[in-house]
């Protein structure tokens, strides 16, 4: 590893993770090179330099790394982990590909805290000269408090967008709110900024009379967290008048104990809810997808949307179990698979139809109010159910 004062660190994009990292690396005194926002170009670079059979998140990661290295980064930090999902190998594969491409960089694999506190500490100590365990712990605590505040802002925006009176107001308020939040340094400042920024989102002009649908979003974590990978699905649904909650958040996902402060339901509870359908870990978020769907159903949500990258094994297992949950808890589930396609029309069509379905189920509007049967020789009354070629209605 380079000496800490020469490190220019980068990481992949994942939703609002960069806001948390900006703060964390700032406190550690490391220069953070944020990759350019994920774009079509990022994806194209990633596709070009990734194994064809790898899933979408890896390809976007690769694009992020290449763009960040080209921007001057010299150190890559990537999450490790294990479990029956390809994610554990991402870092290793990505490092090898980048080295083959001729990039010079240090690679820092961050293994989960639960895999060993000492290794976890050593990773951070290599970034910051003279970092004590005590100081790291303090920094992590305050940075995480800020990260959670960022997550809460996005969570609130998902709830408010369905009611917004003027198209786009929530998005603009969220941007402002994140700016307020980013400026907060000390713990009391963070607390004050969190309250002020939440108020800003709540102050968006809203039509509370609007009849909104409630939909829960479940699935593979990266697809849920990174709007670029899911074609801004949350914004599209929000604009259709759908109140949203999702079961995975950045700080929930990286927190060591997975008490899911943002989602509001700890991992253990989700697992209990999943147990009648799936009683063991199948890797990734397979079990969480099932458990969270049950939770949303029990809370009276109108429907659930499941997102997964093409070829994701844990989510595919969940997909095949979800029809049972759907039946038992009487909740419609829409499964959407994402890959490197760039056209979002297919997704929008399915979402529109799903929203129509949910509205019809509420009884707000039946799909069809059959017009008066016509007293006519072409009428169907004569032929009963035999609507064959001779019938003209």
């Amino acid at each position: 590893m380079r000496p800490p004062d020469q490190i220019k660190i980068t990481t992949p994009h994942m939703g609002n993770l960069h806001l948390l990292l900006d703060d964390l690396f700032g406190r550690l005194g490391v220069e953070y090179i944020k990759p350019p926002r994920s774009s079509t170009k990022t994806l194209q670079l990633g596709i070009k330099h990734s194994p064809e059979f790898a899933c979408l998140p890896l390809k976007i990661n690769m694009g992020n790394f290449i763009q960040a290295l080209d921007k001057g980064a010299n150190t890559i930090a990537m999450a490790g982990g294990h479990g029956p999902c390809r994610f554990g190998y991402y870092g290793i594969v990505e490092e090898r590909i980048l080295r083959d491409l001729g990039y010079e960089f240090d690679f820092l694999m961050l293994e989960p805290f639960s895999d060993g506190a000492w290794a976890f500490y050593k990773s951070f100590a290599s970034l910051s000269a003279g970092l004590s365990i005590r100081r790291l712990w303090k920094i992590l605590q305050v940075s995480f408090a800020k990260g959670r505040a960022f997550d809460r802002l996005r969570k609130r925006a998902l709830m408010v967008r369905a009611y917004e009176a003027n198209h786009g107001d929530t998005g603009r308020a969220l941007k402002e709110a994140e700016k307020i939040m980013a400026g907060a340094g000390t713990a009391p400042e963070i607390e004050a900024a969190a309250a002020a920024s939440l108020r800003l989102i709540d102050s968006v002009d809203q039509d509370r009379e609007r009849d909104v649908l409630k939909v829960g979003i479940v699935g593979e974590f990266y697809l849920l967290l990174e709007p670029f990978s899911n074609f801004d699905l949350e914004e599209i649904l929000g604009n259709m008048g759908v109140y949203l909650e999702r079961c995975v958040w950045v700080t929930d996902w990286i927190a060591p104990r997975r008490d899911n402060k943002i989602f509001g339901y700890p991992k253990q509870m989700i697992e209990e809810k999943a147990a009648p359908f799936l009683s063991h870990n199948v890797g990734g978020e397979g079990r969480e997808t099932i458990g969270s769907t049950v939770l949303f159903a029990e809370r009276g949500f109108d429907g659930v949307v499941q997102l997964l990258p093409f070829g994701c094994m844990p989510e595919n297992i969940a997909t095949s179990i979800l029809p049972k949950v759907q039946q038992k808890h009487d909740i419609p589930v829409l499964t959407l698979t994402f890959d490197e396609q760039t056209g979002r029309a297919g997704m929008v069509t399915r979402l529109e139809a799903f929203v129509d379905l949910l509205r019809a189920r509420r009884g707000g509007r039946r799909i069809i109010a059959a017009p008066e049967p016509a007293p006519d020789r072409n009428s169907c009354a004569a032929c009963e159910r035999k609507h064959v070629s001779s019938c003209r209605f």
Partner: protein, 336 residues
């Protein structure tokens, strides 16, 4: 015939899909006054204009007043801008609406189009579940089209060929590549072309059911619609695979258009309230172009539609700054 006179109240429905463009005119009892089915041939605007022209010829002897217009299909937004639609709906809802109009107690709708296939489950006239496939080409009409070209048999005759078979050849249906190599194998060892075609119908039906029907309860009455429903071999293959009677409506090929016309009818617009721009749009000159916005790193591709040199609509950006409809930016959000 004029769109503004006080003739018979009528509703126009337009379904512009990847392969076909369908237009219908319904009266106020949702009966078909005229229907047009034509190929899109990669030019949706031209297809709509030509289709409208054909439609005016079909209803030339009737005095109709268009009270509402609905569009659907993958080019529904584009078409909506061009003709002035009152309702723009996705094709799943449109197909369900049309099916429950033809068979009011329908429980299952099988729909196979050119580029995608859908399965819609209804209970008491309400859609309760659906599945849509657009990833697997083996489950759609395009594959049949491709095979008809390869075999030199017009697609319209596929059904007759299939019905002459009493022992369908087994064709692998999981993937169009496997299916094609299986078909070639069967043909080279001397299987009758009738048996191969009927076998292909079975393969398609199996592929459809495997991909879409996952744990869904397929109850009768069952309606089969979409362009592929014209193929009697497919109807028989579904009936054999499922063991139930499958109903193919007379207007099976234009059900999406019928559905969108019914949705326009349900808006209950008063005379003159429609956005319809009239049949004159067939004579206007539309130009579409795309450009890449360099405002941020998203580098969105923005589509611009011009009519007679004036910008009519723009869309495609992620942020919404280019969004333009009927020459005006969208400020307030649509009523839900």
């Amino acid at each position: 015939m004029a769109s503004t006179s006080s003739g018979t109240t009528a509703y126009l429905g337009i379904d512009v899909g990847s392969v076909s463009t369908n237009l219908v005119i319904l009266d106020e009892h949702a009966r078909v006054l005229g229907a047009i089915y034509r190929r899109t041939q990669g030019q949706p605007i031209k297809a709509v204009q030509e289709g409208l022209r054909e439609l005016t010829a079909v209803i030339a002897d009737q005095d109709v007043e268009i009270r509402g217009v609905g569009t659907t299909g993958s080019a529904r937004h584009l078409t909506g801008v061009i003709v002035g639609a009152d309702t723009v709906k996705n094709e799943i809802t449109a197909h369900a609406v049309a099916a429950s109009q033809v068979v009011p107690d329908v429980n299952t709708v099988l729909e196979i189009g050119g580029q995608d296939s859908k399965l819609i489950i209804l209970r008491d006239g309400v859609v309760t579940d659906f599945a849509m496939n657009s990833v697997c080409a083996a489950g759609t009409g395009s594959f049949l089209d491709h095979q008809s070209t390869r075999l030199g048999i017009p697609i319209e005759e596929f059904g007759d060929y299939a019905l002459r078979s009493d022992s369908p050849a087994h064709i692998a249906g999981r993937c169009s590549v496997f299916a094609e190599s299986d078909m070639i194998h069967k043909q080279q060892v001397g299987a009758r072309v009738e048996d191969i075609i009927y076998g292909l119908c079975h393969a398609l039906a199996r592929n459809y059911l495997n991909n879409l029907s996952k744990s869904k309860e397929l109850l009768e009455p069952m309606v089969f619609q979409g362009g592929v429903a014209a193929n009697a071999g497919m109807k028989r293959a579904f009936e054999t695979e499922l063991g139930v009677e499958v109903v193919v409506p007379a207007y099976h090929h234009v059900m999406g258009a019928i559905g969108s016309a019914i949705l326009a009818l349900e808006l209950e617009l008063a005379a003159g309230e429609t956005n319809f721009k009239g049949f004159e749009v067939t004579g206007l000159n539309y130009e579409t172009s795309t450009f890449v916005c360099d405002g941020c790193s998203n580098t969105c591709e923005v589509v611009r539609i011009k009519v007679e040199g004036k910008t009519l609509a723009r869309w495609g950006g992620r942020c919404g700054k280019w969004e333009l409809q009927d020459g005006a930016a969208r400020k307030t959000r649509a009523k839900v």
